[in-house]
Symmetry: C2
Subunit: 239 residues, 2 copies
DNA sequence: TTTCTACTCCCCAGAAACAGCGAGGGGGTA
DNA sequence: TACCCCCTCGCTGTTTCTGGGGAGTAGAAA
């Protein structure tokens, strides 16, 4: 494994990256710089419309998507509730499905040591940056303590780049919700009924419905529950 | 301004920080290390229940809270929609309220140059790390390009510490949901009606209701919408 | 073996949410 | 000034959800 990263080069490299495909090249070059076996940036989208760049095999990538593994992968589930980087060893692999997943992963070339960094952006965006290698625990510990800070920064910069691409992909500007709309759906998300919300906000239930309706249409949601879920996952409201 | 940060010392300092009050000490020491006038970590909570650590005057801090400035502060509004760090100059200060806010801030000792880094954690947590100084544009540019990466890391580590404090404040042990229950509420969160969900899962609508009911009671939720919001914010389902 | 949990199905009546309509006042922006 | 968005209130009927109840299977855990 190398000893020091050339940040000028990394930033230059990212600067010259203009498409998602080119990001894969960055992944491979970073892998070489770090001297590890695998490196992945994975934008996690609940709908399964996920992408990123990886040095894993295409086979595994496809399999992961086909099997909807992002719903059971302990790495994703664990990181989703954490802020700090996570060593795979500290995750919960006790479940039956988790064990089967682990076995399947290893049979597709995923190494035993892993370290994943959760990254979050606006509107509830969530991504994972992962380094993966096969070695003993001590060597791995050494690697993490040497490169821990650098890995956080790499995760940050790659995500920044990915968000740029995303912005180009969907220039739709999701209009924000008005304060009253936010109040309304926040209280609904807290379990209040319409009547209770209307009372809390000191407005009539009819008025309340107008807010819910407009929030729903702004969010492109099918129904109230969908609107709440959308607002939550976009980070428009906090419960 | 200094030239190189001693990360060992910074991490040690954070390690020894066990309360929110002690975090203020860290802020002052970091300010000295960076050789700037002000430094702020600010946890932004939609409900206004915000806290953090700052080297700003208590007067300004109180005023900020009293006036609910977090609702109009262009720094917060701007950073909330961005991922990358933001120089205050690139924000939109054109509004009337924004100008008044800026003037008020400067009359309370806030310097002209500012650089804010948005940070996000699980469950929609959002915080800002800001450095503030008075100097000309060129000097400031120099400072940012020298310390940009370090500032990102400082923001990361302080936020990690703040989240630890927060977790101590509200410990909870959520029982997991069964696979069928997860399927059910996930589809509901995606906007499906009961009938559609039942059809998708190839079960009767009656059965579906049992799942929703049991999920609701496990989550301690008042109604279906509440259950979905709870599951989402606990990271039990992903949409 | 017993016990527990997960999964499946069924009934009913009342409460709540839904969809779509219209209308007026206030405030800021162009 | 005109325009747009936000906030507020109103009506009606239809669809859906809610909250009780009970009951049987299979598999895993104790």
């Amino acid at each position: 494994m190398g000893t020091e990263l050339d940040w000028g080069q990394i930033q230059q490299d990212l600067e010259n990256t203009n498409t998602l495909d080119e990001l894969s090249g960055v992944a491979f070059r970073l892998r070489a710089m770090l001297g590890i076996e695998h490196l992945t940036y994975h934008w996690v989208d609940g709908a399964g419309d996920q992408y990123g760049c990886t040095t894993y095999s295409d086979t595994w990538e496809e399999r992961y998507r086909d099997k909807n593994y992002h719903r059971i992968d302990p790495v994703i589930l664990g990181c989703f509730q954490r802020f700090h980087p996570v060593d795979w060893k500290s995750l919960d692999w006790s479940g039956k499905v988790a064990k089967a997943f682990l076995q399947d992963a290893q049979s597709h070339g995923i190494s035993n040591q892993g370290y994943s960094i959760p990254i979050r952006g606006p509107n509830g965006q969530f991504a994972l940056f992962t380094v993966n290698h096969s070695c003993d625990d001590e060597t791995w510990q050494q690697f993490i303590s040497t490169y821990g800070r650098e890995l956080i920064l790499i995760a940050h910069y790659i995500n920044r780049k990915a968000l740029e691409f995303e912005k180009e992909r969907q220039p739709e500007s999701p209009r924000g919700l008005s304060p009253r709309e936010i109040d309304a759906i926040t209280l609904l998300a807290l379990g209040y009924s319409r009547a209770q919300v209307a009372h809390s906000l000191s407005i009539s239930e009819h008025t309340l419905r107008v807010y819910i309706e407009s929030a729903r249409s702004k969010l492109g949601a099918q129904n109230t529950t969908h609107a709440i879920a959308t607002a939550l996952s976009r980070g428009l409201i906090v419960v």
